[in-house]
């Protein structure tokens, strides 16, 4: 009986050791770099660039009880915007249309009541809505003075508003977004400043980050009197932190999100300023074993 118990304990200990060693291997290098072999360092680089493209998103819609009417309204709304933009005769403007949708039906009264604190709403007939997003791209703006650029963007917004296009979310959407904890529409801001050549710049940033990592590793190797080997592991560390949803009794659908306006990953910003492109790498270099000593040594 005692022998059987001892045998079982050995099995348990064995499994426990295996599980521990597997866990050590599975853990990401970023969380426990000290346990890795070799030299692990961060290589960081950042370059800033002025945006060279301005993107303005307009939502063009046609809504009516009859689908034929909705289509005419959509057709004309789109036509008016395009004609107005054509009148500007700007060579640097291009227009893309995407996201054409045809949706039917309106929110039923019960849904409206739930959203609006049980408040009864006036009944409305179902409508057909035809909509799409028109993206206006104003190119080659890097060398334009900010005041001049803002003036040009303002002119485009004026043209759109005079054509009856609503810029950004409407009042009802804004209220609903706030209630649902979706923020004030910062992420869907109609005007975005974009570094369109972000890929080329990012290449340079990577090169700099790699060089930075090697420099750091070399420094450590020198101080520890070891020889730096080749990189054995490379991991890119996200430069932005993910937004955590938190619970609040006042916002049952989530806290309103704040938008800092700058998205270094995609090279876009809602603010007219230099956009920074950051790269952070975690690199593990091997430590080369010194060759065995010879007679000459």
């Amino acid at each position: 009986m005692k022998r059987r118990f001892a045998f079982r304990s050995l099995w348990i200990l064995g499994f426990a050791w295996l599980a521990w060693s597997a866990e050590c291997q599975a853990q990401p290098a970023g969380s426990k770099p000290a346990t890795s072999d070799g030299i692990s360092v961060y290589g960081v680089a950042e370059l800033t660039a002025r945006p060279n493209v301005v993107e303005i998103d307009f939502r063009v819609t046609g809504k009516a009880e009859l689908t034929a009417d909705a289509l005419v309204k959509y057709r004309d709304a789109k036509k008016r915007v395009l004609e107005s933009l054509d009148k500007l005769k700007s060579k640097n403007i291009s227009i893309e249309e995407h996201g054409l949708t045809i949706s039917a039906g309106s929110m039923d009264l019960q849904q409206q009541q739930r959203i609006l604190n049980g408040q009864q709403q006036a009944p409305a007939k179902p409508q057909i809505e035809v909509s799409s997003t028109m993206r206006i791209k104003l190119k080659e703006v890097r060398d334009i003075a900010p005041e001049e650029l803002i003036k040009t963007v303002g002119k485009l917004l004026d043209v759109a508003q005079d054509s009856g296009i609503l810029i950004g979310p409407n009042q009802a959407d804004l209220l609903r977004n706030m209630r649902m904890g979706l923020g004030q529409g910062g992420s869907s801001a109609p005007v975005k400043f974009v570094v369109a050549d972000a890929a080329e710049i990012r290449e340079k940033v990577y090169e700099q980050a790699v060089a930075d990592a090697r420099d750091r590793a070399k420094r450590l190797a020198k101080l520890h009197q070891v020889r730096l080997g080749p990189a054995v592991s490379i991991q890119e560390v996200p430069s932005t932190t993910s937004r955590q949803a938190a619970y609040s009794p006042y916002y049952p659908f989530g806290l309103p999100q704040q938008d800092d306006g700058d998205d270094g990953e995609s090279g876009t910003s809602t603010m007219l300023s230099e956009i920074s492109l950051k790269v952070k790498l975690l690199v593990r270099f091997a430590i080369e074993t010194p060759p065995p000593a010879t007679a000459q040594q």
Partner: protein
């Protein structure tokens, strides 16, 4: 177009009705079904005669139309009349003609007031019902009718000379149209009305022969040509084209006698059509000429309602609050009117007049700061839309309530008439009609003025008061019907105020609550009523996020022989053919839309967007969304342009394409927009913040395209 003759078509319809009556003796159709058969058959027959396209429109509107949901009730006939109808239906089925006609006599004797519901939302008075019932009788029934009533009709016919001619002929047409002299009486009556210049009545008389007397021995081509002449002379070209098509297809070679000479129907219809083309061009200048908007933003003058703008609330000139003390958005109408000398405004009962050139205050009935003090108080029932002002000749007509009694409920509004030059009161309904509360703006026509009103203690009632325009004395009161919702209990939405249209001897009243009514303006006798979808307003206090829908109000308009109306809360655009009546249009449109005007080819609507609908096809031709504007902003239509004062300035839109031609910014850019007044001296904008006049030197008429 079918090749079947009109007579055969009409007989076919009647035979169909008869077949249903005889072929199904066990199942007694309901009264509504019977009425639907009786009253829609002649209308269908007319449409078959006129055009296949119209028939399609007719069947897609009237016959398939379900009874609308309205918030207004028109007076209906008593149960006795309904019983008599059922009795008539039963007796016709058994061919007991004598008793059936006695039942009809019961209906005829109760024709004083009240409508009969045609079960498709169209209500007709009993006399019209009787004519339709007789027209729908089978041949045996018509023969029996002649046996019983020909003597009466013939006696009237023989005595129809001199002064008694028109009354006698009218009585034959109204009561004995299917008698052996009915068709001749209608033809003669049409001739008399035509000679008198009353083209609509002439058209109605001639059309009744085609509709109700298919077996008439009168030459069809002659009647059609008379009808076509009447339609051409009155500019009803859409209806004319239907008649033209029928004549060309069926009666082209038949001779007609006109002015002592005999020509073919084809020649005459071609001649009338040729005059139609030039007439269409000639009627275009009825609209005001196009204008060049000012080139500079500098105004002649501006009057702001607030002497000092509150920086925290720059867009709220009037500190109105709701029942919970929260600020109420200033998105309500500011009643204003202008002529070539002055601009008048009615601000919650304080009337003011400004010189149109200098902006100098000419007179006022109170000081604005008094109003600001009053508005600090609790005013949940202020109903800004009930105030109005109109400048007619040398008089200012205002509907208002005493500003010192703003907190007294229910509100009692009165009509006050002042001398436009001095502001001196000429008369007020507050004294002479103290038991009435005025609903909506006054509608002066010649020597009389029409007013919507309810008795102070009956807030659901809607009546039309007819006043003498010179002294304000009450001439006549006509009760239109009853609102389902007490209008003094509507706190968040606009109250329903009637709109009027007077055309020749008819007055059309849109209640904006679900009913359009036609009445004879002299006698106040009802012709018909049409119900349309109009949901009842939300009542009660709402603390949370109730968003009242924006509602725009427009009066009915006449175009292409149709009466168009769009109720304030309705999402349907109706086009009613007044003779009949029959619904030619019953089309969904935006609930916030309003009628702006009509021209030869299009009907224009405003609201959240400007839109043009084809009068021929009912299709939406173009739609233009303008910058956001006040809900009460009424677009202005000229010969080739539409103008609207929006939150981003005055927009000029091409009527043909809907393209935005120009935006004149002006200086009132903090406002929501509002109304636009054009006078020879100045272009005046009235917003929720200010009255602004721009110089007229640049308002020269533009060359038309």
């Amino acid at each position: 177009m079918s090749s079947t003759s009109p007579a055969r078509q009409e007989n076919g319809c009647h035979a169909h009705a008869r077949g249903r009556l005889r072929g199904n003796p066990v199942k007694v159709p309901l009264l509504a079904a019977w009425l639907s058969i009786c009253l829609s058959v002649p209308a269908r027959a007319v449409d078959v005669v006129f055009s296949t396209g119209t028939l399609i429109a007719e069947t897609s509107t009237a016959s398939t139309r379900t009874k609308p949901t309205t918030s207004f009730s028109l007076p209906t006939q008593s149960a006795e009349v309904k019983d008599a109808l059922e009795e008539f239906q039963r007796l016709v089925k058994h061919q007991a003609w004598e008793k059936a006609f006695k039942a009809l006599d019961t209906i005829t004797s109760k024709t004083a007031s009240g409508y009969i519901d045609r079960s498709d939302g169209v209500l007709v008075p009993s006399r019209m019902l009787v004519r339709n019932l007789l027209g729908a009788l089978p041949t045996a029934g018509k023969n029996a009718y002649r046996v019983f009533y020909d003597s009466q009709a013939t006696a009237l016919w023989e005595k129809a000379v001199g002064k008694t001619e028109v009354p006698n002929l009218s009585q034959i047409v109204n009561d004995h149209l299917i008698s052996s002299v009915g068709d001749r009486a209608a033809d003669r009556l049409g001739d008399i009305y035509f000679e008198q210049g009353d083209l609509d009545q002439a058209i109605t008389a001639w059309r009744s022969i085609i509709t109700y007397c298919p077996e008439s021995k009168l030459p069809k081509a002659q009647i059609f040509i008379k009808l076509a002449t009447g339609l051409a002379r009155s500019g009803r070209w859409a209806e004319f084209r239907d008649i033209e098509r029928t004549v060309r297809e069926r009666y082209a070679g038949e001779g007609v006698e006109l002015g002592g000479r005999r020509i073919t129907a084809a020649e005459e219809i071609a001649r009338l059509a040729a005059t139609g083309q030039s007439a269409e061009v000639a009627t275009a200048p009825a609209l005001p000429a196009d204008l060049d908007l000012p080139s500079e933003d500098d105004p002649l003058w501006q009057f702001r309602y607030q002497s000092k703008v509150d920086p925290l609330n720059p867009q709220q000139a009037f500190a109105l609050v709701d029942i919970y003390g929260r600020p109420r958005a200033n998105n309500f109408p500011i009643p204003a009117a202008a002529d070539d000398k002055r601009v008048c405004v009615n601000l919650f009962g304080y009337e003011m007049a400004f010189d149109i050139v200098t902006g100098k205050l000419l007179w006022r009935t109170g000081k604005l700061h008094q109003l600001q003090n009053l508005q600090q108080m609790r005013q949940n029932q202020i109903s800004p839309e009930r105030y109005s002002i109109a400048l007619v000749g040398d008089r200012v007509w205002s509907v208002l309530r005493d500003p010192e009694q703003l907190n007294q409920n229910p509100a009692t509004f009165a009509l006050t008439v002042r001398n436009a030059a001095t502001g001196k009161e000429i008369f007020s309904s507050r004294k002479s009609l103290s038991t009435w509360s005025i609903l909506g703006p006054p509608y002066p026509v010649g020597n009389v003025v029409y007013l919507g009103a309810n008795r102070s203690n009956q807030n659901r009632e809607l009546a039309v008061l007819v006043l003498n325009a010179s002294d304000g004395k009450l001439l006549r009161t006509v009760t239109i019907g009853t609102h389902q919702v007490d209008q003094s209990q509507v706190y968040h939405e606009r109250t329903a105020l009637p709109s009027f249209l007077a055309y020749r001897d008819r007055l059309y009243v849109d209640t904006h609550a679900g009913a359009l009514v036609s009445m004879q303006s002299q006698s106040g006798t009802f012709d018909w009523g049409v119900l349309y979808d109009s949901p009842p307003p939300q009542t009660g206090y709402y603390y949370n996020d109730y968003q009242p829908p924006p509602q725009s109000v427009s009066a009915p308009v006449l175009a292409a022989g149709l009466l168009f109306c769009k109720g304030m809360r309705s999402s349907r655009l109706l086009g009613v053919q007044p003779d009949g009546p029959s619904l030619a249009w019953d089309r969904p449109v935006s609930q916030t839309a309003m009628i702006v005007g009509v021209d030869q080819d299009h009907l224009y609507m405003g609201g959240e967007e400007l839109a043009a609908y084809s009068l021929q096809t009912q299709e939406l031709v173009w739609s233009t969304r303008l910058p956001q504007s006040a809900g009460w902003s009424v677009p202005l239509m000229t010969r080739n342009r539409l103008f609207q004062f929006t939150s981003r300035g005055i927009c000029e839109v091409d009527k043909a394409t809907g393209a935005l031609v120009r935006v004149f910014r002006g200086i009132d850019l903090d406002s929501f927009g509002g109304s636009l007044l054009i006078t020879p001296q100045a272009l005046v904008t009235v917003s929720n913040l200010a009255i602004t006049a721009y110089p007229s030197n640049s308002l020269s008429p533009k060359q038309t395209n």
